[in-house]
């Protein structure tokens, strides 16, 4: 069965510190990987997807097929990065995504 695991429910860092949100997946085939973010009082929105190989708001995510991981990283966290982050994986079936349980990131001043 497809599964996405985010081992940390809560993650706290100080402003300017590096941050890494972990994501591991168990998926048949070659899934597409995503990170979604939900800021306070805003709707869930796409942060980045691995096939785009882009950096959004200073965040990057590297797909490691050997370790089946897709960790989200930012070298210098900002207070406005405080949010709920979801990792998701999708196969070929009707665009369905499997989401992890989410990590609440808090960046302290």
């Amino acid at each position: 069965a497809q599964r996405v695991t985010q081992p940390e429910k809560l993650l706290s860092v100080f402003k300017g510190a590096p941050v890494e949100l972990k994501c591991n997946y168990s998926y048949s085939g070659s899934p597409e990987l995503f990170w979604y973010v939900q800021y306070s009082r805003q709707r869930l929105q796409l942060l980045l997807r691995h096939i785009s190989r882009e950096s959004i708001k200073g965040f990057t995510a590297d797909l490691n097929k050997g370790e089946t991981s897709f960790h989200l990283k930012k070298p210098f966290a900002q207070e406005e990065d405080s949010a709920m982050y979801y990792c998701a994986a999708g196969g070929t079936s009707y665009g369905k995504l499997t989401f992890g349980q989410g990590t609440i990131l808090t960046v302290h001043p």
């Binding site: 709707r43 665009g95 369905k96 349980q101």
Partner: protein, 112 residues
């Protein structure tokens, strides 16, 4: 541009009452549509998805049902609500062959 709407934003219902949550999408045709429940500590759980009018697939057996009476309308229903149906319900859409999903603002349901 595409937009997705959900209503109501908040709903408080007694146990045993019926439920109808509505989701509509604008600016796209024949989208895939999804209903999720977001519960604290449990992440996003896919409840239903639809690839076309009248086509509904259920991911999790439960007290809820879904319908798609029009191309861009997706409805989540229940005949009799349970306490365990409380949660935050999200509707999302995607375009065929692309997996990025776009989410609505959500409906917070409290069953008392």
């Amino acid at each position: 541009s595409q937009t997705i709407h959900q209503w109501p934003a908040t709903l408080v219902q007694p146990v045993g009452s019926p439920l109808s949550l509505e989701c509509t999408v604008e600016g796209t045709s024949n989208p895939n549509l999804y209903w999720y429940r977001q519960a604290a500590g449990r992440g996003l759980q896919l409840l239903f998805y639809s690839v076309g009018i009248g086509q509904i697939s259920s991911e999790v057996p439960q007290n809820l049902s879904a319908s798609r009476p029009q191309d861009r309308q997706f409805i989540l229903s229940s005949k009799k609500l349970l306490l365990s149906d409380s949660g935050f319900y999200l509707c999302a859409w995607s375009v065929e062959d692309r997996k990025t999903q776009y989410f609505g603002p959500g409906t917070r349901l409290l069953v008392l």
